[in-house]
């Protein structure tokens, strides 16, 4: 009988030790982000404390992301959701949040980090009418393309993580300071690189690039879409080609859209066509936020040289 008691005692001690050991191992904070930019910045701010996954890969058009049920378990298990906000994700995220059954990441809850807080929003529509196309009621949501806004995003993420995990606040702040310094250094370099782009006029497929253009001094003078989200008519394209020829506009910028119309316009106007990334992750050379901004700048500079 003695051996049985010893065995039971040993088992109890073993289980207790195991439980203690497994309890001592802190679980990483599970963060789900809507776009890869936010995943990268969250990794920089959270480092080893977070486990981050982006729902989109970076190749999608943000206004037409498929509502995949495979996103639901990810949202269900998330401790934190980081979103762009300004209704960029309106066509797919709300439809996924309801079946995800995770009240703590719903909009307005502490686990929902809206990175648009504190952004100086541009292109806020004067009136809301679908006759104006697929307008964004809260203004242009593509603010991630301005690297100075990247700093605000990082600050919002650090604040959001600290709000939910105050015990790690000092660590988040330290990581944030390192990342912001890195970003500042890159921004100074990009400002120098972008000198040849100052005042360059361009035509865009969709109005994704307003923040980027403002930061680096480019000037959008037309768009391939008739109105946001409304594909061009033949008359619109003819008028645009004439305008581009008259004003000698050197650049046509497009994103995840088809290259059909940009190439057609380029043929008629002699402008260079360049495809840029509106979010990171869409190309191997743009797999982080810093690389993504640099990739866009380099692509533009190369296109300017060609024109």
């Amino acid at each position: 009988m003695q051996w049985k008691r010893r065995l039971i005692l040993s088992a109890v001690i073993f289980v207790s030790l195991f439980r203690f050991a497994s309890g001592a191992q802190a679980q990483p904070i599970r963060v789900v982000t809507t776009i890869p930019d936010l995943a990268d910045i969250t990794k920089q701010v959270g480092k080893e404390l977070v486990e981050v996954e982006s729902l989109t890969r970076g190749v999608e058009f943000m206004h037409a992301v498929p509502v995949k049920p495979s996103f639901v378990p990810k949202l269900n298990r998330a401790n934190i959701l980081v979103a762009v906000g300004l209704d960029l994700e309106i066509s797919w995220l709300p439809a996924l949040l309801e079946p995800a059954s995770n009240p703590k990441i719903m909009p307005g809850q502490p686990g929902h980090i809206d990175c648009s807080t504190g952004i100086s929003v541009i292109d806020v529509p004067k009136s809301l009418d679908r006759a104006e196309g697929d307008v964004h009621p809260k203004g242009n949501p593509h603010y991630n393309l301005d690297p100075l806004n990247g700093k605000i995003i990082a600050r919002n993420i650090a604040d959001g993580l600290a709000r939910n995990y105050p015990q790690h606040k000092a660590q988040f702040e330290k990581n944030l300071a390192i990342y912001l310094a890195e970003l500042d250094k890159a921004i100074a370099r990009w400002q120098g690189m972008a000198a040849p782009l100052k005042g360059a006029k361009f035509v865009a497929y969709h109005s994704d690039w307003a923040y980027f253009a403002n930061r680096f001094g480019l000037q959008q003078v037309g768009s391939i879409e008739v109105k946001p989200g409304i594909e061009p008519t033949p008359n619109h394209l003819v008028g645009l080609a004439q305008k581009m020829q008259q004003e000698r506009i050197p650049l046509i910028i497009y994103g995840p859209q088809s290259d059909r119309y940009p190439k057609q316009l380029a043929g008629q106007s002699g402008a260079s066509v360049v495809r840029l990334q509106s979010i990171s992750g869409g190309a191997a050379e743009a797999d982080s936020y810093l690389k993504f901004i640099e990739h866009n700048l380099k692509s533009l500079l190369a296109a300017m040289k060609k024109s």
């Binding site: 049920p69 269900n76 719903m106």
Partner: protein, 415 residues
């Protein structure tokens, strides 16, 4: 020496002339310097003026922007403080067709003006309602409460809604990839899975999407006439549902969704049948999608559903338990932002005589003018052996026009 020189008239004149010359030269030089200085100052003045004007312009611009931002903020604040800001989101879908049937003739069919309202009720629930007006009248198609913060991955829904049976039965007809409701869905399920009752869903903690639903309703099916929806009944005459649905990403671009449903009514007593009996309505649905992430608005969807119905029905020889199986399959290719084309095959049995079936074959072509405005052309050939309705026989042509106004989303179920 100097006085001697001064006393001499010629040298004096020379000296004076030289002095005058020097003075005048110096004066001239000073004048030109002054001129250049004046010009410089003038230039600087102009530059300063321009700079001041630019500053003024920028100040004004800043002021205008600030004023506009203020205005927007004020209007937002005003809107937020107004009671109307708490009103639900409202949207409307209008769906009309021009139809021509070789046996029954043609008609303009005002199919639906569907008003949807939706809003959060409180931190714990959301509410929505769909009111549908058509040439048959106006009805409340759905009006339901959905919980948003139940623990343990649970979600409850109550009221009137399209029950979680199968896939297409939860769609409002204007959301189909094709024009008409498949006859198999109409005959076996009774059109949309409209039901008054309550449902509880559970999201399994699996790495892939797996969701189970149980429900209890008065009855299931918009066209179901077996029981009177308004009468009280014993527990054996309610309809009980169970459904399991799962989804797998095969790759980033390919996915499969699989669902199985069973709606069981323990006791249905039809007039003239002293015995009565249960009714089992079962369904199996499979959806394959090819959605290339990097290519906008393109892809392929293949959807198929199989329905089975088992119940006692009246035949020439009296009441007998009959088992009818039918279903539909369709494929739709989205070619670009504007165009999509596809084909629908439908196999619809008669419930009382399952051997008699209506087969239909319908190619369709969709033109999306924008995200909210759509035209669709469909041809259908109906090979009808049931011969109950001449509108379900022969050739059919449809031209459908569907538009959406305001906020309109049926959410996750009709993705």
């Amino acid at each position: 020496m100097v006085s001697a020189v001064l006393r001499t008239p010629l040298p004096l004149a020379t000296v004076l002339f030289t002095v005058l010359l020097l003075v005048s030269e110096r004066g001239l030089a000073q004048n030109s310097e002054l001129e250049s200085l004046r010009a410089l100052v003038k230039g600087m003045e102009q530059q300063l003026q321009q700079a001041l004007q630019r500053i003024d312009h920028l100040e004004k611009e800043k002021g205008t922007t600030a004023t506009r931002v203020d205005q927007v903020e004020k209007s937002v604040r005003a809107g937020q403080s107004a009671p109307s800001a708490l009103n639900p989101a409202i949207g409307m879908a209008i769906d009309a067709t021009a139809e021509q049937r070789s046996k029954a003739g043609g008609t303009f069919n005002f199919r639906s003006a569907e008003i949807g309202v939706s809003a959060s009720i409180d931190p714990y629930a959301r509410g929505y309602a769909i009111f549908n007006g058509s040439r048959d009248g106006v009805e409340v198609e759905e009006a339901a409460m959905v919980t948003t913060s139940l623990p343990w991955n649970l979600q409850a829904r109550g009221g009137r809604f399209f029950a979680e049976f199968g896939r297409l039965a939860k769609f409002h007809p204007h959301e189909y990839a094709f024009v008409n409701t498949p006859l198999s869905l109409d005959r076996i399920v009774g059109g949309e899975s409209k039901a008054d009752g309550v449902e509880l869903s559970y999201l399994f903690s699996t790495p892939f999407f797996l969701r189970g639903t149980v429900g209890s309703y008065n009855q299931l099916g918009a066209e179901n006439q077996r029981l009177d929806d308004n009468k009280s009944r014993s527990w054996s005459r309610f309809t009980y549902l169970s459904r399991l649905t799962s989804y797998f990403d095969l790759t980033d671009n390919h996915s499969i969704e699989l669902g199985t449903s069973l709606a069981f009514t323990p006791s249905i007593r039809i007039a003239g049948d002293p015995q009565g009996g249960s009714r089992s309505l079962s369904g199996l649905d499979l959806t394959y999608r090819y959605q290339p992430l990097g290519t906008l608005y393109q892809g392929v969807t293949v959807g198929a559903e199989l329905f089975g119905n088992s119940e006692r029905l009246e035949r020439d020889s009296g009441f007998r338990r009959m088992f009818a199986v039918g279903g539909y399959a369709y494929a739709e290719a989205k070619l670009n932002r504007h165009w999509a084309a596809g084909f629908l095959y439908d196999n619809a049995p008669s419930l009382a005589s399952p051997g008699k079936k209506t087969h239909s074959y319908s190619p369709f072509l969709t033109w999306n003018l924008s995200e909210f405005n759509r035209l669709r052309l469909q041809y259908g050939y109906f090979d009808d052996k049931v011969r109950e309705d001449k509108a379900e026989r022969g050739q059919q042509f449809f031209l459908q026009w569907t538009t959406v106004l305001g906020a309109h989303a049926h959410g996750f179920r009709t993705r």
